[in-house]
């Protein structure tokens, strides 16, 4: 792939095609009686045209466009993936395990991502933040956080 704009335009082209196909399935109706897919069909069609415009504009104007690799060069991309995985795991564990345990675990792992802290400090910070957020959201704001295996 030549550059970032070309890659992203192909992504949006695919999304645009998907939107148009789905809209046709829902029924676009007529101008007299617009159907449920009417406006999304046109939004998808314009998205396709704009993506194609962006894709072909890359051939005309090559200067100043960065390559895909350069977007992540010299960065700690592994940490981004790690954080995303942690957040995904939290999403699945929150309800069965409960707010207190899952939040404590999440924070303990997150504080280590960028910080050069000792285990004891991380443990303490995680307990304090978990307890603090529990008091604010569960007790004061009555947010009904999931109780999980602890039952409270």
């Amino acid at each position: 792939m030549r550059n970032t704009d070309q890659s992203s335009s192909l992504f949006w082209l695919a999304i645009g095609i998907g939107i148009v196909l789905c809209s046709l399935k829902y029924g676009i109706g007529t101008f007299h009686e617009p159907g449920p897919g009417f406006i999304t069909f046109f939004a998808g069609a314009i998205l396709i045209l704009l993506s194609l415009g962006l894709f072909f504009s890359c051939f005309r104007d090559q200067e100043g466009r960065s390559s895909l690799k350069s977007l992540w060069a010299g960065l700690e991309t592994g940490k981004v993936l790690y954080v995303i995985l942690l957040l995904l795991a939290y999403t699945f564990l929150l309800k069965p395990v409960g707010f207190l345990i899952s939040t404590f675990l999440l924070l303990s792992l997150l504080f280590r991502v960028k910080g050069p802290y000792r285990l004891k400090t991380i443990f303490l910070m995680s307990i304090l933040v978990t307890a603090g957020s529990y008091i604010i959201f569960e007790i004061w704001l009555k947010a009904q956080l999931p109780k999980g295996i602890l039952g409270w």
């Binding site: 999304t40 998808g44 700690e76 947010a143």
Partner: protein
């Protein structure tokens, strides 16, 4: 005199103890998120929105508005002291504010930023009180075709002003319209783009989208950066009050910034950001010593700081009178008003005068609170800047997670937020702006509705948009805006603003 009567009525609402407390909480949190880089008013308002569901709607909107204009105040502190803008509208303040700080004049820079913001904020509130009622009266005459064309104009102006590639912004607006129309069709009750996911039947929630696009994505971008020490200004802050010469140099920039900011704030598309850039450009052009700009000219702080504050008041006009948000923050406030069953629009002033006049008056009180908060407490805000990022980012993430979950007590909302967080991260990497997506998402269902109503009115003829005078004028403006980027000079200005943003 009617206006004065209404303002006094609004003041009566705003000074009720609960509303005063919420106003204070709002401006305090606003200043805090303005100070903290990586957490802007959009993310903060969406985080706190679920927490306001149990409070009175008037108090809630007062607090959420306070966060918005409070962030404009707080943003200047980091720009001046650390050369890191707390939010986009304070980017320009770095140019001269930080230079003033380096020359030992951090005090007057912070002082004039706070006083300028106060004067401009006051001007904006008065302008809002005078301009909104006649506009709302005019808007009552608008039908679905006029509303549809106005929304198209709003989205076009936003994509034009958003900076960066207009093509990409338009793409995001198209995608936003589709995201906004996910869920059951209002007329046929047919599910659209739900893919068997139950939580999507009611549509994609604005809050998970906004928290993902603006909160989670920002954290992910910061996590991948290698940590560098923030250089915080070490000299003691003294003499926050600007001297007579400072005032002489600043008073006209403040006045010009206030008027410019207010007018630009009314336009859709991040008025606060654009107005600060325009104000800086105007001051530099009008100055007798333009060579001093960028080297510590106080006018370069006073003008833009005033402009970004009065723009926040201006941004309320299209929301409160037409029901059309002009930027991402206003889009969330629109969502909030819908949740409180107070749909904004021309009838809001008469149907909920307590909300309309109460919020406007609270903004005036909030401006006074901000002046008190910002000047004596600058030392405290500087200390907050020292909170290390490895500690800060897990807290931001946790607030996002709890905020998303507590919307419906459903972890699927967190999943939705994560999807938009990853999308937002990639969008920033590939230089796509999130604001047109959010605005189009909010306007999407309204556009769908008004377009279908217009076509039903006209018996299926699209000419309805070109035979009604207001629609014709508005679509003419849309055409001009779409053609503007072709002009090389305009294209250059957009590029500069986009890069700084």
């Amino acid at each position: 005199m009617d206006i004065l009567h209404h303002i006094f009525y609004g003041l009566g609402v705003a000074v009720q103890p609960l509303n005063l407390l919420f106003c204070f909480i709002g401006v305090f949190i606003g200043t805090l998120v303005g100070v903290l880089p990586g957490l802007g008013p959009v993310a903060a308002i969406s985080l706190l929105l679920p927490a306001t569901f149990h409070a009175s709607p008037v108090a809630s909107i007062i607090m959420l508005s306070g966060i918005y204009y409070g962030a404009m105040y707080g943003g200047s502190t980091t720009s001046i002291l650390v050369n890191i803008p707390g939010e986009a509208a304070s980017v320009v303040t770095c140019f001269d504010g930080y230079q003033m700080a380096r020359q030992g004049r951090a005090g007057p820079a912070l002082g004039i930023a706070a006083f300028g913001s106060f004067i401009a904020g006051t001007f904006g509130v008065v302008g809002l009180a005078f301009m909104a009622p006649p506009l709302a009266a005019m808007a009552l005459k608008f039908g679905p075709p006029e509303y549809f064309s106005l929304m198209v104009l709003g989205l076009t102006v936003l994509t034009f002003l958003a900076g960066g590639s207009m093509l990409k912004s338009l793409m995001m607006a198209c995608f936003g319209v589709v995201v906004g129309n996910v869920g059951l069709d209002l007329i046929t009750a047919q599910p659209r783009f739900t893919f068997g996911w139950d939580i999507l039947l009611d549509g994609v929630g604005l809050i998970p989208v906004v928290m993902g696009l603006f909160g989670i994505s920002e954290v992910l971008l910061n996590v991948e950066e290698k940590l560098s020490e923030r250089e915080i200004f070490k000299t003691k802050l003294k003499g926050l009050l600007p001297n007579l010469q400072d005032w002489k140099d600043s008073i006209w920039p403040i006045i010009r910034g206030s008027v410019l900011g207010f007018l630009l704030g009314i336009l859709p598309g991040g008025g606060a950001v654009i107005s600060s850039f325009v104000s800086y450009g105007v001051e530099k052009r009008l100055s007798k010593h333009p060579e001093e700009f960028g080297k510590g000219a106080i006018a370069g702080v006073a003008g833009p700081e005033s402009a970004n504050n009065s723009a926040t008041a201006g941004a309320f006009i299209p929301l409160l009178t037409l029901g059309l948000p002009s930027n991402a923050v206003m889009a969330i406030l629109l969502g909030a008003l819908m949740i409180y069953n107070m749909p904004p629009g021309p009838k809001l002033i008469t149907s909920h005068p307590d909300l309309f006049w109460g919020v406007i008056s609270s903004m005036y009180i909030g401006n006074i609170m901000l002046l008190v908060l910002n000047l004596p407490l600058i030392g405290v805000w500087v200390k907050i800047l020292k909170v290390p990022y490895p500690v800060l980012f897990p807290l931001i993430l946790l607030f996002c997670l709890i905020g998303a979950y507590s919307l419906n007590n459903n972890p699927a909302e967190i999943g939705l937020m994560l999807i938009f967080g990853i999308l937002g991260y990639l969008m920033k990497k590939f230089k796509y702006d999130g604001a047109p997506l959010v605005l189009a998402m909010v306007l999407g269902p309204l556009m769908d509705n008004s377009l279908r109503q217009s076509l039903l009115m006209s018996g299926g003829s699209g000419t309805i948009f070109f035979t009604r005078p207001i629609c014709l004028i508005i679509f003419g403006m849309v055409a001009i805006i779409l053609l503007l980027p072709v002009l090389p000079r305009i294209s250059r200005i957009r590029k500069t603003v986009g890069e700084s943003d």
